[in-house]
Amino acid sequence: MKAEVVSAHKGGMWAWLFQRITAVLLIVCLAIHLLFTHILNIGELDYENVANRLAHGTLTAVDIILLAAALYHALNGFRMVLMDYWFTSRTRALALTVVLWVVGVAFMAYGTWALWPWIS
């Protein structure tokens, strides 16, 4: 008996590459984020202090990039795990990818909305 192995799967290079890129972004942005949130001029943990810190354009930008990178890295990692198990066929994998994108974009929108007063 000869097993048939023709597969419908195509590509995967971009997801792999972005997983690496977001990993690097995570290291950099997370370091900056932690530094400014917990080590440098912490002050009282009240609305005004936090708002002042976020008023710096660069810090807000770092936070937005951090959010995007963390979301991509986490959801794509999750996708990779699930694709090892039940989401093996191209159709199932595609459905999974679409659902995770929707979740990711929703979280991204929510996070950006929370930061909006300082962005605009």
Partner: protein
């Protein structure tokens, strides 16, 4: 004349009276200093039980038929001298995670179908040269490692990415991970300076059931009785995919 005990995992799924797996013990006599596990199995087959099934062919670790799980590791039975195992009990089991045929024989159909799928042959488009295709020593060096693969299946049997896509989950076989051996073969030809088949071959390994199911667990590196490094080959393929798709490189 030394004696050594063999504990062999026996199972005949086709035997209705006793289809379950069980261990049997045999005492093997041998003359002189050396005994390979394969010779021990011959002895058992001749002296105790002619129905013991196992694969072998070359007896010189070049054909890859006799890979088994011996004393807790993937080993070639013909390459393993009992002396080097440093014990008086040899346990021999079939390669785990593969469908069992009988005793130490496993079904390798999927394994070889996946191997064939990656086009493990030299593809040429330019006209044949008059004599041989020249390759520099440096270029030859690149295939030194992968060219030694004897397709024994140890790496494939040891890889959790291969197991996790088991039939028990109801997925179709064409969606299973290709596995380290097939991808190492793909690498062997992709990295070869004489090969021109990259364009056709890449779609076969650059996908979610090819290189991207490798999570660098590296069981294959530990398992390989030829001490090859399939993970290194797969990582090279991942970089090659980026080089080719993004920078339009040929290799």
């Amino acid at each position: 004349m030394p004696d050594i005990k063999f504990r062999v995992k026996r199972q005949d799924p086709g035997d209705n009276n006793n289809p379950e797996a069980h261990w049997e013990e045999y005492t093997v006599h041998y003359e002189g200093e050396n005994l390979t596990v394969l010779e021990g199995l011959f002895y058992i087959q001749e002296k105790f039980d002619g129905s013991l099934s196992f694969r072998f062919c070359c007896r010189a670790s070049v054909c890859g038929s006799c890979a088994m799980y011996i004393n807790g590791a993937y080993r070639l039975a013909c390459q393993t001298n009992v002396k080097h195992l440093d014990t008086d009990l040899i346990t021999v089991a079939p390669m785990p995670h593969l469908p069992l045929v009988k005793d130490l024989v496993v079904n390798m159909d999927e394994f070889f179908a996946k191997y064939e799928y990656v086009m493990p042959w030299l593809v040429r488009h330019s006209p044949d040269p008059e004599k041989e295709i020249i390759q520099s020593p440096k270029e030859r060096k690149k295939i030194d490692m992968p060219v030694d693969c004897i397709l024994c299946g140890s790496c494939y049997s040891s890889c959790p990415s291969v197991w996790s896509l088991g039939a028990s989950l109801g997925s179709k076989s064409e969606e299973y991970y290709l596995g380290p051996a097939a991808l190492l073969k793909a690498y062997r030809f992709e990295v070869d300076s004489r090969d021109e088949g990259g364009k056709e071959r890449i779609a076969r390994w650059n996908n979610e059931r090819g290189i991207y199911r490798c999570h660098t667990i590296m069981n294959c590196v530990e398992a390989c009785p030829k001490e090859l490094n399939p993970t290194e080959g797969i990582q090279w393929l991942k970089r090659a995919a980026v080089r080719r798709k993004l920078f339009r490189k040929a290799k």
